[in-house]
């Protein structure tokens, strides 16, 4: 893009949003870098050329029109805290970040419908404050760091730790408003029907359901989003079912799945191996051969596997559910049950101090201080990326994913801070999670090659990432190759039709507009 067009575009954006809300000085743009970037300080690092912070929908429309007329690439963010998956930096270097932090109004909380409508800049903390101050009876689902936004987190398919159907955050979305590349405003679902009171009730509306078009997408700037929320339950109970033999895992997972899909527990279940996490509770070691693992269990007295169901609801209901859940595992030899937690809600100040707050929809930043509490050497403020692949939801799925990931990391010399093979934020799935440390020196080149190799290895096993940092988006999309990459081709056809100048979030999740398609895999600057 030539400098004169860019300068003219920026001047037009200044008149749209006000001088002080356009940033183009290096000191300001430094704050839009991805502090966990695997390209940190390298010529290929993805950085913005400017940032603009509109205050309302009309200003967003004006900015988008200015960009579209001059073919200036833009990159919308909500709160821009996507650490581990790209921070607030654009995928295409040279894009203008559209920072929506000033659009931070909670537009509606409907207590009877158990839903909310928010602007993109509303953080989980903002929403929590709003719910508390208004005496709401509703609970929201939050990711571990609560400083992100409901909208940005859901758009990148983030996850929390609460109730099924809510904790996969995009699963709880109902109704989207977005500024499209031509500057026009689209409302999905019932929002398309003027005067409807059901925008946050019936998601589908008529015809193809377009909410999904905005998930991990390049098609619009989302300016409003509706969410279903959960009525705060009366109590929470957590249990554990522990089994002693390597061979018991398949049965443990099979029954747990059946119970969850039958709504016999509604909280996020945990699957782990106490004996393989003795040294570091957040990093499971390689699963050994059956006889070795069984001998470890015998020697240590620590169970081979555990399944931890969580229940939200009235006390007498969840105690009955827990009793039934236990009854379904009683036939497994040596099975052990324990009630590991029970609290009444709202939480007492004492309970508040000892619980994992995100499980109760309470935003927190505690995760950033776990390093100093001696959780292995996990220190999130040093920087890491998340590797997160969807694997089969079965015992064999856990075993295969653990072994492939562990042996590949060892072969490639890749460190892991944290490793959990079966995270269950998203309905009906297991996502293998690994936190890989990122450096601020030359070691990142090796890290990138190693991660790319692991993406390919996982794909050979049929496992694909659900989300990833920008440096790997083309590699991950490459793996979804059925029908000669028909998925990507359809996405790009839609992109070209709706955004012919290719201005919005070019390259995000491997979807490139025609104009920049030559940058696939190699990257570049607009």
């Amino acid at each position: 893009m030539d400098a004169a067009t860019f300068a003219d575009g920026l001047a037009a954006m200044r008149s749209a949003v006000g001088d002080e809300w356009v940033f183009d000085l290096p000191a300001d743009l430094n704050t839009y870098r991805d502090f966990y970037s695997v390209l940190w300080g390298e010529p290929e690092e993805k950085v913005a050329s400017a940032a603009v912070a509109p205050a309302n929908v009309e200003e967003v429309q004006a900015v988008v029109r200015v960009a579209n007329e001059r073919r200036i690439p833009i990159y919308p963010i909500s709160t821009g805290r996507n650490l581990g998956y790209g921070g607030s930096a654009p995928v295409l270097s040279g894009s203008v970040v559209v920072d929506l932090k000033r659009m931070n109004r909670v537009l509606e909380v409907n207590e009877d419908n158990c839903s909310a409508l928010v602007e993109p800049g509303v953080s989980f903390f903002d929403m929590y404050r709003h719910l508390r101050e208004s005496g709401s009876k509703l609970m929201m689902s939050v990711p571990d760091p609560g400083w992100g936004s409901l909208v940005g987190n859901a758009l990148d398919s983030g996850g929390g730790y609460t109730v099924s159907g809510y904790r996969g955050h995009f699963e709880a979305v109902c109704g989207i408003e977005a500024v499209m590349a031509d500057g026009e405003l689209l409302r999905t679902g019932m929002g398309a029907l003027p005067g409807s009171e059901t925008w946050q009730q019936y998601r589908m509306g008529i015809g193809p359901c377009l909410d999904g078009m905005f998930r991990q997408s390049t098609l619009g700037v989302v300016t409003k989003m509706g969410f279903w929320m959960f009525p705060t339950p009366e109590a929470w109970l957590s249990g554990s079912v522990s089994v002693l033999r390597y061979e018991d895992l398949e049965e443990l997972v099979r029954i747990a799945n059946e119970l969850e899909y039958g709504n016999l527990f509604n909280g996020m279940p945990g699957f782990g191996s106490p004996v393989l996490t003795r040294e570091n509770p957040i990093a499971m070691t390689m699963i050994p051969e059956p006889e070795v693992m069984n001998a470890m269990v015998q020697e240590s007295g620590v169970p081979a596997w555990s399944f931890s169901p969580n229940f939200y609801g009235p006390e007498r209901v969840i105690r009955e559910q827990w009793a039934y859940v236990k009854s379904r595992f009683e036939h497994i030899p040596g099975v052990q049950f324990a009630e590991t937690g029970f609290v009444d809600l709202p939480l007492s100040p004492e309970d508040m101090e000892r619980i994992h707050k995100p499980r109760f929809g309470i935003p927190s930043l505690e995760i950033f201080s776990v390093g100093s509490r001696g959780y292995g050497n996990f220190n999130p403020s040093d920087g890491h990326i998340w590797f997160s692949a969807v694997i089969p939801r079965s015992g064999q799925g856990i075993i295969d994913a653990n072994r492939v990931m562990r042996s590949e990391c060892e072969r490639l010399g890749l460190d892991l801070f944290m490793f959990a093979p079966a995270v269950t934020c998203w309905t009906r799935s297991f996502v293998l999670f690994a936190a890989v440390p990122v450096y601020k020196d030359g070691r990142n080149a090796h890290l990138r090659d190693a991660v790319r190799e692991i993406i390919r290895t996982c794909a050979e096993h049929g496992w694909g990432e659900y989300r990833c940092p920008p440096a790997f988006m083309d590699d991950v999309m490459d793996a979804y190759s059925f029908g000669d990459h028909k998925l990507r081709r359809v996405n790009e056809a839609i992109k070209d039709a709706l955004d012919p100048n290719g201005i919005i979030s070019a390259g995000r999740y491997g979807v490139w507009p025609e104009r920049y398609r030559h940058m696939r895999r190699t990257g570049g600057e607009a």
Binding site: A7, A27, T31, R129, S364, F368, S372, S381
Partner: protein, 137 residues
């Protein structure tokens, strides 16, 4: 138009500037002479409270900034003004810096302190001040 090179260069320069400014800060004028409105002290570092020695209000926390930010700083940072000095772990400063930037504030001074690290976390002395016109007093 700011080039990618300029942005990267600025990022490299900032920490050095912080250390330089700290020279004056460490020469120990009283905290209020630096224009501080309050101090924030991370009690994980046993010596930190003594070093703070401040004639301005001192807020305390132990590693996790959630409560002090949610109950105190968030509201103050939405208003113009308010210069905050701190002695905290580098992990806590990382979080505070991101939160501060969101509200038009910047770390204008930072220096690693000679206190024993806690589980590998270094103590840092810093100042966060308003920077954007919407919050400069």
């Amino acid at each position: 138009m700011t080039t990618r090179r300029e942005v990267l260069k600025w990022g490299a320069v900032l920490p050095a500037l912080g250390t330089g400014w700290h020279g004056a800060f460490a020469a120990a004028p009283p905290n209020n002479a630096l224009g501080l409105d309050a101090m924030l002290v991370d009690t994980r570092f046993p010596g930190a409270l003594a070093v703070a020695d401040a004639p301005v209000p001192v807020m305390q926390f132990a590693g996790d900034v959630t409560r002090v930010w949610f109950d105190e700083l968030d509201a103050r940072w939405r208003q113009p003004g308010f210069v905050l000095g701190g002695i905290t772990g580098s992990d806590a400063l990382f979080v505070l810096e991101v939160l501060a930037q969101h509200q038009g504030r910047k770390v204008i001074s930072r220096v690693a302190l000679d206190l024993p690290p806690v589980n590998g976390v270094q103590a840092v002395r810093w100042i966060i001040a308003p920077h954007h016109p919407s919050v400069t007093a």
